[in-house]
């Protein structure tokens, strides 16, 4: 019998901002645990789990009892590896002072906006060990602040949002956050630009088009041919300018630090997914790798109370790109700011409602766009509709380090 012990502990200090000031303080320290018992002889396993510091022996007893359900497994577990991936670079200790400083630095916006949001310091500790001498521990501490600005008189919960996420906050990053907020706060008060139902250049983080792609590279979807990319591994699927890695440590889109997966496979921090437009990697966990005769790519993600599923972390675009400020010259370029509620069809077609967008002409901001939806096909977005990728030198804290420009069909609402 192999026994596997998994725990995830979250230690968080959070401050909530409401009506331009600190409203509350929240502390939590919660551990969630599980024990899985694997009967190698009968190839069955079971799980016992709990929230709170329940003794491992109780969870082990529960898992052993549930072996009677004969839940099947048919793969090798990791063994003989010990490592500690603790990361603590955070220099901010006093969250309240930090939050007060942010509110002070944003006070000039209070004439037009009501500021709400939250700040927090979070430590996530994940530990997986088994009776085959696997013992991996990861602890990552990070800080965040997000600030929502609601224009006075607006019926929205928020009109614009800016934020700052990091394993630490450098002065450069902080100044960049203030610059982003200043731009957003001024731009939001501008007039609408007249646009028509036609194709415009869209400037956006490329991940806006990737929801379906991350599903299409899931090993199950790929092997069962329900993926749009089925059978296309090692083929050219995108323009040759496209290089994508699956990233396990990033502070873009929130902080992520995941040195190993939920099955104890120590991952590659930047795993190549697409190289020069060629699809290189399909994602597998242990169970499905075995089923389809492949090797796990370390994508067996799991929560404490469940078994591993095939997960995909942050997809990052890499390459040497010109600066965004240098490539948005010429005719109208639309920058979506709020894009909620879009969806994809199985053929890759998407419709993305845009609640707020800004318009640029000859590299300069000229006003807000009317509400619209952008329609297209995500494969076209990285092929015939793609104009360029660019290094985000303008709003890095909001959209991440890389942006793309492509031709998108706009329908006004």
């Amino acid at each position: 019998m192999i026994k596997e012990y998994f725990s995830n502990q979250t230690i968080e200090e959070k401050i909530k901002i409401e009506n331009n000031q600190i409203q509350s303080f929240r502390s939590k320290n919660i551990i969630q645990k599980s024990v899985r018992v694997f009967d190698e002889k009968n190839k069955i396993f079971a799980l016992g789990c709990a929230t709170g510091n329940v003794p491992d022996s109780d969870l082990e007893a529960k898992a052993t009892e549930l072996l009677s359900l004969k839940l099947p497994f048919d793969y090798e577990l990791e063994k003989d590896l010990k490592a500690d991936f603790t990361m603590d670079k955070l220099s901010v200790n006093d969250l309240e002072s930090f939050t007060e400083k942010v509110l002070h630095d944003l006070k000039d916006y209070q004439s037009n906006y009501v500021i709400s949001g939250a700040s927090g310091i979070t430590e996530e500790i994940t530990h997986i060990k088994n009776s085959q001498d696997l013992d991996l521990r990861c602890a990552g501490k990070s800080i965040y602040i997000y600030t929502n600005l609601k224009q006075k008189g607006s019926s929205n919960i928020m009109d614009i949002g800016t934020g700052l996420y990091g394993f630490d906050i450098t002065d450069r990053k902080y100044q960049s956050y203030l610059k982003d907020t200043e731009f957003m706060a001024k731009a939001y008060l501008s007039e609408n630009v007249n646009l028509e139902n036609k194709t415009y250049k869209i400037l956006c983080p490329p991940n806006m088009l990737l929801d379906k792609f991350s599903n299409d590279i899931n090993g199950i979807e790929y092997e069962e041919k329900s993926s749009l990319l089925a059978g296309k591994q090692f083929e050219q699927i995108f323009n040759e300018k496209v290089n994508i890695v699956e990233c396990r440590i990033t502070h873009e889109n929130g902080c992520l630090y995941m040195p190993f997966d939920g099955e104890g496979i120590v991952g590659v921090y930047d795993k190549p997914i697409v190289e020069n437009g060629v699809l290189k990697t399909i994602l597998y966990n242990k169970k499905n790798a075995k089923k389809y005769g492949k090797k796990s790519t370390g994508n067996g993600f799991r929560n404490y109370n469940g078994n591993a599923y095939i997960g995909c972390s942050f997809l990052k675009f890499i390459g040497d790109f010109a600066k965004c400020s240098d490539v948005i010259n010429g005719e109208y370029v639309i920058l979506p700011i709020m894009a909620e509620g879009g969806d994809f069809l199985p053929n890759g077609n998407y419709s993305q409602p845009i609640q707020l967008a800004f318009v640029f002409q000859n590299g300069k901001f000229i006003g807000k766009a009317p509400q619209m939806s952008i329609n297209g096909n995500y494969l076209d977005g990285f092929n015939k509709d793609l104009i360029a990728f660019c290094q985000n030198d303008m709003w890095e804290n909001i959209f991440g380090s890389v942006m793309m420009i492509y031709n998108g069909a706009v329908s006004l609402i």
């Binding site: 909530k16 409401e18 009506n19 331009n20 409203q23 509350s24 303080f25 929240r26 502390s27 939590k28 919660i30 551990i31 799980l47 789990c49 709990a50 929230t51 709170g52 510091n53 549930l66 359900l69 004969k70 839940l71 099947p72 009501v114 709400s116 939250a118 609601k150 006075k152 008189g153 607006s154 019926s155 929205n156 919960i157 199950i220 979807e221 069962e224 041919k225 329900s226 109370n305 469940g306 078994n307 909620e340 509620g341 879009g342 969806d343 994809f344 069809l345 199985p346 053929n347 077609n349 419709s351 993305q352 409602p353 609640q355 707020l356 509400q371 939806s373 329609n375 329908s411 609402i413």
Partner: protein, 450 residues
């Protein structure tokens, strides 16, 4: 558990307000994927959320150590600069105990082998069909008990339980793929008698969509099913009724004056958390305020909004019982409970009849609400010359809230409420709150579909 809370005598501390909420949540989860037994989980978690209000700020702490609540409370009092020495203050306790789960009829009380047997009924339907790819069949029970006390003397406990079965799959033939799912939520064992019919009918209908053609984006009349009406109501107007968006903004209070016309006069929207048969059952909120029937719109006129104690005080209005947290690690926010459009007078046929060219939206995958609201559509049909005709592929619908509320020109005569077990509503990092929503069939005379 209530006695444990009462023994703390929290009214005797000098803080402006203290609330303690203990939540016990049990989840049973059985999953089959690709025709194989995929997972079984039984989990009971117990935790407490402690709140202290002092010197104009709230201080919160979440813990799983129920026996350590008093020491955790003392830490919070110290953080809030309040003495941990008790005063002589007295308070009269107002205690409410609601036990909804004392019947054996609840489906969650079935032994796990029986649940697996019922799931096999659904598995046989989807797993044996040659067009079905990646079938995922899931059973979930969600049982919650809450125990609460505050320093004003409010003490309560209540419990609730819901069960859900989900099947999710793709249909594939040649190059055509249609991804779909059915969720069936219920409370009592008797609902299991309908499993075979429900899931068979659903699969038969899903096949109609496999080779359906995509629509051209347009603005046209549509009829929404009760499911779609519910998501529309929740996303479009429900979130705008949550009064916390008015905090610090007196202009908004004037703009959202009660009595203002905001919808066609045939539209009334209600939020009410007192029905124990739906998932949005929250008979007393996380500030100790009982649920009541709140008209948000009555006959097209803005009639009310949803409040926590803070927002009610700020707007000088009555509390409504809408402060909820998703679990013991979170503070309450202003949230909906069970939100629906009230019934009108039309039959489904009467709603369809005047439409020459439009769409009937039957099921929706997800929705979101902002200055515009959106719904991602799973199943929709064409309406031609007053009749439902071909199934179509529709992606997303969008609209601006008030324009759409004015464009509702027909309301059906029967309300259906949709409960949630697998998902729920998300707000400010708190997901999922198992609210419910619904309404009758409604007709919107002009609507953006793509």
């Amino acid at each position: 558990m209530l006695q444990k809370l009462k023994d703390l005598e929290i009214h005797r501390y000098a803080a402006d307000r203290i609330d303690i909420r203990i939540e016990e949540t049990t989840l049973y989860h059985i999953a089959f994927f690709q025709k194989q037994f995929h997972g079984y989980t039984e989990e009971t978690s117990v935790g407490a959320f402690i709140s202290v209000f002092a010197n104009g700020r709230w201080y919160y702490r979440a813990t799983t150590e129920i026996d350590a609540i008093e020491s955790e409370l003392h830490k919070l009092l110290q953080q809030a600069r309040v003495s941990i020495t008790k005063t002589d203050k007295k308070v009269e306790l107002k205690e409410t105990v609601i036990d909804n789960l004392n019947s054996d009829d609840f489906a969650y009380k079935l032994p796990r082998e029986k649940k697996i047997e019922h799931l096999s009924t659904v598995r046989e339907i989807v797993e044996n069909d040659s067009l079905v790819v990646n079938p995922y069949v899931l059973w979930m029970d969600r049982i919650k008990s809450k125990y609460y006390i505050n320093s004003n003397g409010v003490v309560y406990s209540y419990n609730k339980a819901f069960t859900g079965i989900l099947d999710s799959y793709s249909l594939k033939e040649n190059d055509d793929i249609f991804e779909t799912h059915l969720v069936y939520n219920f409370q009592k064992k008797s609902a299991l008698n309908k499993l075979k019919d429900k899931f068979t009918t659903d699969l038969t209908e899903a096949k109609l969509f496999l080779h359906a053609k995509a629509i051209e984006p347009c603005t046209c009349p549509v009829v929404l099913s009760p499911d779609a009406t519910g998501i529309f109501t929740h996303e479009s107007f429900g979130h705008k009724s949550e009064a916390d968006f008015m905090i610090g903004d007196p202009d908004m209070v004037a703009q959202w004056e009660i009595g203002k016309k905001v919808a066609n006069e045939i539209v009334s929207i209600i939020d009410c958390g007192d029905d124990p048969t739906v998932s949005g059952y929250f008979p007393i909120d996380d500030e100790g305020v009982p649920a009541k029937k709140n008209y948000l719109i009555k006959n097209g006129i803005l009639a009310g909004r949803l409040h926590s104690e803070e927002t009610a005080k700020m707007l000088n209005e009555s509390v409504t019982g809408n402060a909820q947290a998703i679990g013991f690690t979170y503070e309450p926010l202003v949230r909906m409970t069970s939100t629906y459009i009230d019934k009108g007078t039309s039959t489904f046929e009467e709603l369809i009849k005047p439409i020459e060219k439009g769409y009937f939206i039957k099921s929706v995958t997800h929705g979101s609400g902002f200055s515009t609201f959106t719904m991602a559509v799973n199943r929709a049909y064409k309406i031609e010359n007053g009749k439902i005709t071909n199934p179509v592929r529709m992606n997303v619908t969008t609209g601006t809230v008030f324009e759409t509320l004015h464009n509702i020109d027909g309301v059906g005569d029967t309300v259906e409420i949709i409960s949630q077990v697998f998902g729920g509503c998300g707000k400010m990092g708190q997901y999922p709150l198992t609210v419910s929503f619904g309404g009758p069939y409604i007709r919107i005379k002009s609507y953006n579909v793509s």
